[in-house]
C-alpha cells in the first residue's frame, strides 16, 4: 500500500525509516486521514518528516507521487484490508531499510503489471485478489493504483496545491546533518574542576562528620564540578577557504551552541594572523592580537581552522598581508609563534584533503601546531590532543 510513496521519499534522500512508515499505517488504519488527500498530506508529514528543513523536499515528493490522482477516497479501506493480513508485519520486520533500498521501483512496477494482468483474467472486481496476495511487497505496492483510482468523492486535489506552493523552500538546509556529531565531539572537550560556590552536599564527609559529632548532623558542602575549558577559536575566512565555508559554519554553530564551556571566544583572520584579529566576517571590527594575547590566560584551548595555504610572503615577510590596511610590520609566522608560545594547548584543524598538505606554508605552520584533518575522526583526535596534559 502506497509503498511507492515511501520510495519516492527515500529517493529524495528524506530520512524516513520503516518505523515511521509503520506508524503511518497504524494512523491510517485508525481513520486519521478521514478519507481525504488533504488530511493525508498533513498526516503523513507530521509522522514521516522530523525537521522543517525537509518540508520542501516532502512537498516535491508529494507532488511527484500524487499528481493526477483525483480522489483517493478508499485509502482507509484499502489499508484496513491490507493490515488485516497477518503476514504483513512479518514482511516488514524481516526487511531492513537496506534491502528495501535495493528493490528498485522498476522491478516493483514490472511485477505489479504482471499481476494486474493475471487479475483481469481471473476476476473483474479484484479487491479480494489483491488483499490476499499480501505476502509479498509487490502485492502491496500494487494496491495503490487500483485502489486509489476507483471513483469516490472528489475534493482531494487541495493537498497537491498546498504541496505545490512549496512554502517551506526557505527552510531547506543542507548543512544540518552533522551538527549533532560535532556537538558530541566538542562535548569531549572537558576538564572538570571544582570551582564556584560550595553548593553540593558532600555525602561521605557529612556522614563522617556526623558520626564524629555523636550523631548530631554536620553538613559538609563542596564546590560542584564544572567544566573549566575555555575555548579560543580562530577561523580563516580568506578566499581559499570559500569551498569549506559550510563545513566551518557547521563547526562554528556547534561550538556556539555548546553551553558547557567556561568561556568561548572566536575571531576571524584572512589567510594569516597579523596584528589584528577580526570580530566580524567583513573585517570592519577587530581587536589587537597583542592585547588578546595579553588578556587571555595561557589555559585557553586554541583551535585554529584554516587551510594554511598562502603565498610564502604572506607568512614570512613584514608587510606581507594581502590587505594594505593591515600594515603588518611583523610577519605572520612570528604571530603564529607567539600564539603557540602563549597558550599551552593549541591545535590546527585543516579542512583541505591531506593530499594538498605538502605545501611550504603548511609545512611551516605544522612545525608550530599539530595539524589534524577536519573530519569527524580528525576532530576527535585533535580535541583529544587539546585536553591532554
Amino acid at each position: 500500500m502506497f509503498i511507492q510513496f515511501f520510495y519516492t521519499l527515500r529517493h529524495r534522500k528524506i530520512p524516513v525509516s520503516i518505523t515511521e512508515w509503520i506508524v503511518l499505517m497504524e494512523a491510517l488504519s485508525k481513520g486519521c486521514a478521514l478519507n481525504s488527500l488533504n488530511n493525508f498530506y498533513y498526516l503523513a508529514r507530521s509522522i514521516l518528516i522530523k525537521s522543517e528543513s525537509w518540508y520542501d523536499e516532502y512537498d516535491i515528493a508529494f507532488q511527484e507521487y500524487f499528481k493526477g490522482i483525483e480522489a483517493p477516497s478508499e485509502i482507509r479501506d484499502e489499508v484496513m484490508r491490507w493490515l488485516q493480513d497477518p503476514s504483513i508485519q512479518k514482511v516488514f520486520s524481516n526487511m531492513d531499510p537496506e534491502t528495501l533500498d535495493k528493490l528498485s521501483i522498476e522491478e516493483l512496477m514490472k511485477e505489479f503489471e504482471k499481476r494486474l494482468k493475471e487479475q483481469n483474467e481471473k476476476h473483474d472486481g479484484g479487491s479480494h485478489w489483491i488483499g490476499t496476495r499480501g505476502t509479498s511487497p509487490f502485492g502491496h505496492s500494487g494496491v495503490h493504483p487500483t485502489g486509489i483510482r476507483v471513483g469516490g468523492k472528489p475534493g482531494g486535489s487541495r493537498a497537491i496545491k498546498i504541496a505545490g506552493e512549496r512554502r517551506f523552500k526557505n527552510l531547506r538546509s543542507d548543512i544540518t546533518l552533522d551538527i549533532r556529531q560535532i556537538e558530541l565531539a566538542l562535548k569531549s572537550l572537558r576538564v572538570l574542576g571544582r570551582i564556584g560556590p560550595e553548593d553540593e552536599l558532600d555525602l561521605d564527609r557529612t556522614i563522617d562528620a556526623t558520626a564524629k559529632n555523636a550523631g548530631d548532623i554536620d553538613l559538609i558542602w563542596k564546590k560542584s564540578r564544572k567544566n573549566m575549558v575555555k575555548l579560543l577559536l580562530l577561523i580563516d575566512i580568506g578566499g581559499s577557504m570559500d569551498e569549506y565555508a559550510s563545513l566551518c559554519s557547521r563547526i562554528f554553530s556547534a561550538a556556539h551552541s555548546a553551553t558547557h564551556f567556561k568561556d568561548f571566544q572566536y575571531y576571524y583572520f584572512h589567510n594569516c594572523v597579523y596584528n589584528r584579529l577580526y570580530t566580524d566576517v567583513e573585517r570592519n571590527n577587530w581587536v589587537n592580537t597583542d592585547n588578546l594575547l595579553k588578556n587571555l590566560d595561557s589555559e585557553y584551548r586554541v583551535v585554529i581552522i584554516g587551510d594554511a595555504r598562502m603565498a610564502n610572503s604572506e607568512l614570512m615577510s613584514p608587510y606581507g598581508s594581502i590587505y594594505y590596511d593591515d600594515y603588518n610590520e611583523t610577519p605572520g609566522i612570528v604571530w603564529f609563534e607567539r600564539i603557540a608560545n602563549r597558550f599551552n594547548h593549541c591545535v590546527w584543524l585543516n579542512p583541505a584533503d591531506p593530499y594538498y598538505w605538502d605545501h611550504p606554508t603548511v609545512n611551516m605552520v605544522s612545525r608550530l601546531f599539530p595539524i589534524y584533518e577536519l573530519t569527524l575522526e580528525g576532530l576527535t583526535e585533535g580535541l583529544k590532543k587539546l585536553i591532554a596534559k
Binding site: 494512523a27 557529612t206 553551553t259
Partner: protein, 282 residues
C-alpha cells in the same frame, strides 16, 4: 479508537490553530505519541499545550527545562538531606524511604489518577543527552525507583507535548518516536483571527493598519530579532490605550519600542524607517 472520535481538537476560544496544526494534534491524540513542536519564538508553542489541556478539559503538568536540568529530575528526586536530618530525631520513621522520594513533573504526570497533558517545554535548552535519557521512559510511560523498588507506571498515557527552539539538533532515535510539527509564522489572515481572539472589540481599521505595518517591519531584512505575535499584541494594546488614530499608524509608526526590543534593531529601523512608512502610504 472509532472513526468518529478523530478530530477532537479544534483549537480553543483563545487559541487559533491552523489546519495543519490541528491535524498534527489529532494524529498525536490518535496514536498516543509525543508531539514535538518547533517554530520561531512567539508562534505559540507553549500556549498550544494550554489550549489542548483546556479544550480536552484535562490538567496540564509543565516541566520547564533549563540548561542545568537533568532528565532524572523530571522523574523523581530523593531528598537525602531531609532524611538525614530526620534521622537525628526520634519522632519520624526514617526507614520509610518513600517519604523522601519526591516525584518530578514527569513522575507526577505518570502517577496521576486521570489522564493529564504533559508539557516538556524547551527541550533543546538542556544538555545534549537530555532527550536520549528520557527515551525509554516516554516510550513505556513508566520508570523504576531503585531506592524503593517501586515502579511508577502511567495508568493513562499522558498527552505529551514537547517544544523546541531548534537551538540544538535532537537525536534521531528521539525524533523517530515523535509526531513532528513546525509552526509557521502566521500569515496576516490568521494573524487577524489571533488578534481578534485577544481584542474582540478592536476597531477593524486599527486592526488592519497595525497588522499591515507590523508585516512591513517584519519584512525588513536585517532585523536581528523580528517582532513576533506577542509583541504585536502588546503594541496593539498600547495603540488602543493611547487612542492612536488608525490612519496615523502607518504614517508615524508610534511606540515602536513595543515591537523592537534590541538597540541595534531600533537604530536599524530608524535608518530604514522610510521603507516602512512610504510603502504603507501607498
Amino acid at each position: 479508537m472509532k472513526k468518529g472520535e478523530f478530530h477532537i481538537f479544534k483549537g480553543s476560544d483563545d487559541y487559533v490553530a491552523s489546519e495543519s496544526l490541528r491535524n498534527a494534534v489529532n494524529v498525536m491524540l490518535a496514536l498516543q505519541r509525543p508531539l514535538l513542536i518547533r517554530g520561531e519564538p512567539g508562534t505559540g508553542k507553549t500556549l498550544l499545550a494550554h489550549s489542548i489541556a483546556k479544550s480536552l478539559d484535562k490538567k496540564l503538568v509543565i516541566f520547564n527545562v533549563k540548561s542545568t536540568t537533568k532528565a532524572q529530575e523530571g522523574l523523581y528526586v530523593y531528598d537525602t538531606v531531609r532524611r538525614l536530618n530526620d534521622a537525628r530525631f526520634d519522632d519520624s520513621d526514617v526507614m520509610d524511604i518513600k517519604k523522601y522520594i519526591k516525584l518530578g513533573k514527569i513522575g507526577e504526570a505518570f502517577a496521576s489518577p486521570e489522564q493529564v497533558v504533559l508539557l516538556i517545554d524547551e527541550v533543546d535548552k538542556a544538555d545534549i543527552e537530555f532527550p536520549n535519557d528520557l527515551l525509554n521512559e516516554l516510550d513505556e510511560m513508566s520508570f523504576n525507583i531503585p531506592e524503593t523498588g517501586e515502579t511508577i507506571a502511567a495508568k493513562h498515557r499522558p498527552i505529551v507535548i514537547i517544544t523546541s527552539n531548534a537551538e540544538k539538533e535532537l537525536p534521531d532515535a528521539f525524533l523517530r518516536r515523535c509526531i513532528f510539527h513546525y509552526i509557521e509564522f502566521p500569515d496576516s489572515e490568521i494573524m487577524r483571527e489571533i488578534v481578534n481572539v485577544h481584542f474582540p472589540d478592536l476597531r477593524q481599521e486599527l486592526l488592519g493598519e497595525s497588522i499591515k505595518t507590523f508585516y512591513k517591519i517584519r519584512g525588513l531584512d536585517d532585523l536581528s530579532k523580528k517582532p513576533s505575535t506577542s509583541e504585536l499584541i502588546d503594541w496593539i494594546q498600547v495603540l488602543t490605550a493611547a487612542e492612536v488614530k488608525p490612519e496615523n499608524i502607518s504614517k508615524e509608526v508610534p511606540f515602536i519600542n513595543a515591537l523592537l526590543k534590541k538597540e541595534a534593531d531600533y537604530h536599524y529601523f530608524l535608518k530604514n524607517e522610510n521603507k516602512v512608512k512610504r510603502f504603507s502610504q501607498r
